[in-house]
């Protein structure tokens, strides 16, 4: 398993380089212009000058190599400098956003707290709710609990978050006035009161996202458990006198985890990718908001950097999932 992991990690490097090239070419090919948001009152000659100042005049391959150097060579130096107080990166050009003209990585770091608070927490809560619901729904298939759970999760999945979010705002912010409708990213948790304030502004976006995540994961959990509950080994386990709890929670659960692990690993990078619509509805301004804003403004360096970080996480989490398969089911061999 260790050699497998190492081999996969080494193999991930060319994969990621290739992905970054494809992303770059895709963005290059996609229609759009960083000047799209400039008012129409600005004459075309001025726009042309502004495009040149962004470096758009250079050929594609030069810009790609530039990005590679900036991202893989200069940015790590900046991080190193930041941690150890050295000055390796001084005066070197970092990946700059076309919108803000500031280093993309700085903005990414700035957006991390709210993204992790809202999207990360909702994902963890979603998973924690989904697993027991899925297990119990399968164990008591077609019971009232199962039916209600199915109904709620189907609604949670089929009604989009742009609607549930607004509905919650109208009920809890406008009519009841319990929670703020706009997330305050400058809010700092220093004492108990400010912590309660943080929970209040988290309540609605986390609920909306957690419902959505839980709906999806619980369906896979339930289906997989159902498959395994009828297997012969369950009968064997029961026959040899194992307790019901041990049978379901140890034997069946472990064998049912493979699709669930896949789904959870697929969803985890999305946490960092942010939740575009929910962030928009509650003005969380996390990474999802950053990405969609950059795509709308055709801010290619930002889109490229964010998408690449996202690709990195996808590859890493998929490797983690593959390793977990081997642990859950030792019969799975990769070599």
């Amino acid at each position: 398993m260790l050699t497998f992991t190492v081999r996969r990690l080494v193999l991930a490097v060319p994969t990621l380089l290739f992905i970054s090239l494809v992303i770059f070419l895709l963005l290059e090919l996609a229609p759009g212009d960083p000047m799209a948001q400039v008012p129409l009152t600005v004459p075309p000659e001025v726009k042309e000058k502004m495009r040149e100042a962004l470096g758009l005049g250079q050929p594609v391959h030069i810009r790609f190599v530039k990005w590679l150097v900036q991202f893989f060579w200069i940015e790590p130096q900046v991080l190193f400098d930041h941690v150890f107080g050295t000055t390796f990166a001084e005066g070197k050009l970092r990946v700059l956003s076309w919108q803000t003209r500031s280093p993309v990585m700085d903005i990414v770091v700035q957006r991390m707290p709210q993204t992790l608070w809202v999207v990360g927490m909702s994902y963890i809560i979603g998973v924690l709710i989904a697993l027991p619901i899925g297990i119990y729904s399968a164990y008591r298939q077609y019971s009232i609990f199962d039916q209600v759970g199915t109904f709620i999760s189907m609604i949670g999945f089929s009604v989009p978050t742009f609607f549930t979010g607004v509905l919650l705002i109208v009920i809890f912010s406008v009519n009841l006035g319990w929670f703020p409708s706009i997330y305050d990213t400058t809010h700092k948790v220093t004492d108990w009161d400010s912590f309660v304030g943080q929970l209040r502004q988290l309540a609605m976006p986390v609920f909306v996202l957690a419902l959505y995540n839980a709906a999806q994961i619980s369906r896979f959990m339930r289906a997989s458990m159902l498959d395994n509950l009828n297997q012969d080994y369950v009968r064997t386990a029961r026959a040899k006198g194992l307790g019901e709890k041990a049978v379901v929670l140890v034997h069946v659960l472990r064998n049912s985890m493979i699709p669930v692990v896949t789904v959870i690993a697929l969803g985890a990078p999305q946490v960092f990718g942010g939740a575009i619509i929910t962030e928009q509805v509650f003005k969380v301004n996390g990474l999802g908001h950053l990405l969609i804003g950059a795509i709308e403004a055709n801010d290619l360096p930002t889109v490229q950097t964010l998408t690449f970080i996202f690709a990195l996480l996808i590859v890493v989490f998929n490797i983690i999932a593959d390793v977990l398969y081997g642990i859950l089911d030792p019969r799975i061999r990769y070599d």
Binding site: D33, P39, T41, T100, I107, T185, Q280, K283, G293
Partner: protein, 566 residues
Amino acid sequence: MKIKTLMLGAVAATALAPAAIAERGSDGHVNIIYWQAPSILNPYLSSGTKDIESASLVVEPLGRYDPTGALVPYLAEEIPTLENGGVSEDLKTITWKLKSGLKWSDGSAVTSADVKFTADYCMHPEGGCAQLAKFEGVESVDVIDDLTVKVTFGEAKPNPYGPFMGGQSPIIQAAQFADCMGAKAPECTTANFGPIGTGPFVVTEFKPNDVISMEANQNYRDAAKPAFATLTFKGGGDATAAGRAVLETGEFDYAWNLQLAPEVIANMEKGGKGKTVAAFGSLVERIEMNMTNPSPDLPEGERSTAAHPHPFLSDLNVRKALSMAIDRELLVEIGYGKAGRPTCNLVPAPAIYASDNTDCLTQDIAGANALLDEAGWVKGADGIRAKDGVKLSILYQTSTNAVRQDFQALIKQWWSEIGVETELRNISASVFFGGDPGSPDTFQKFYADAEMYANNFDGTDPESYLAQNTCDKAPKPESQWQGENINRFCNPEFDALVAELAKTGSLAKRGELGRKLNDMLTKDSYVKIPLVDRGRVSAHANTLGGVVLNTWDSELWNAADWHRIK
């Protein structure tokens, strides 16, 4: 004009002076929400409204436009005019004099060197300055003394108020930006995110595309202002949420540009936490007619170019009938409410440039049908008019936006009533308004028969706006499809009048020429079908005093006067 504007400015200034403000910072905190988030606080590197308006709290120009469009001095002692000798007789120079004793927020003195530096900064060839058009024709900017600066233009400039006027062209501090000239401009992140200014507020924290925290400028020239000690400027989301936060939940004090259906706004106002304010500028929603043939059957490079005239839109009667079939009153009622008025003009304001053209305001379906019958366009079996095998079938495109899609649906129906078939298309704004020559969907490329969007002009002088429609400005493949003459309208008489306008100094004569040019594009030729004169609706909390909505300059132009009503 100069005397009148000056007087207007003076009147406005006294009228706006708030009753009695106790002292700086006595009213605590104010929250502003813009549904587009500011990316940078240097207006010379970005011309987005959100960026310019947020920066206007921090950096200020020599003079601004007030809500009537008149000029008012800010950092300048007075507005230079021909009458007071500030503008030379040959219209080639303008001399500005700064107020004495002005200080930057860091305590250092504001001098004419800063003004000159501002011009140098923007006019640097490698800087990619977003406001370069403001400095068009500027030959030199010379420092006369510590407080006086003279701008010299290459040729006579009837409207010399480009540089240093209005929110787009504020004065920046030479000391702070000295190392940020030209290609280095984007590297000065600290300066671009926290410019040192003369305005009522200074930046304490800037989170790009998210939120700005500000506090009162301790060196602001009026010791009693601003009334607020701190300010939060939040960006992002959508207009609905911004309106809700001010009008219904009361979390915010001011929300910018609520582009929402009138009913939605009316319902929000029932929340009772705030009210809306509306004002009009020069923004006009219009349908542009393609004078050239966009047919996909033509080879690439010849579509929508002067090589092929449009098969039916080149007929004046068709264009006129299309305009006659539209009920502009209803469009306003559905889409804009009190933030819109029906118009037949491309230049709806200021008054001296606004033509008295009103014949399009009443819908006339019968008249339009009669006109088309007369012109030989007869209805076929499918109810669609045709002549010589050419069918009146229109592809009508616009950007994605709820109000625009409602307009498209309504207009499609009216056009069907006069026997014109319409196919609708909507395109994401970032593609539609982008100038990517590789995309078939940009508004410049105009691969459609008609398209709808809104446009306006900076400041109060429409000369360059009208001059966009000369023959040579038509987008074409050779110019990478850049160009402002979207219709590919070409009339030598129009071009001659534009040239004449550029040489005319007298305001009355300019007004006459401007109105004539406006009419040539609208009621004489119907190449542009104006629909709605779009005002702006913003909302403020009931407890926020001193808000005067201004569409000619930054909406936050008088934030120094804002105060809390107790």
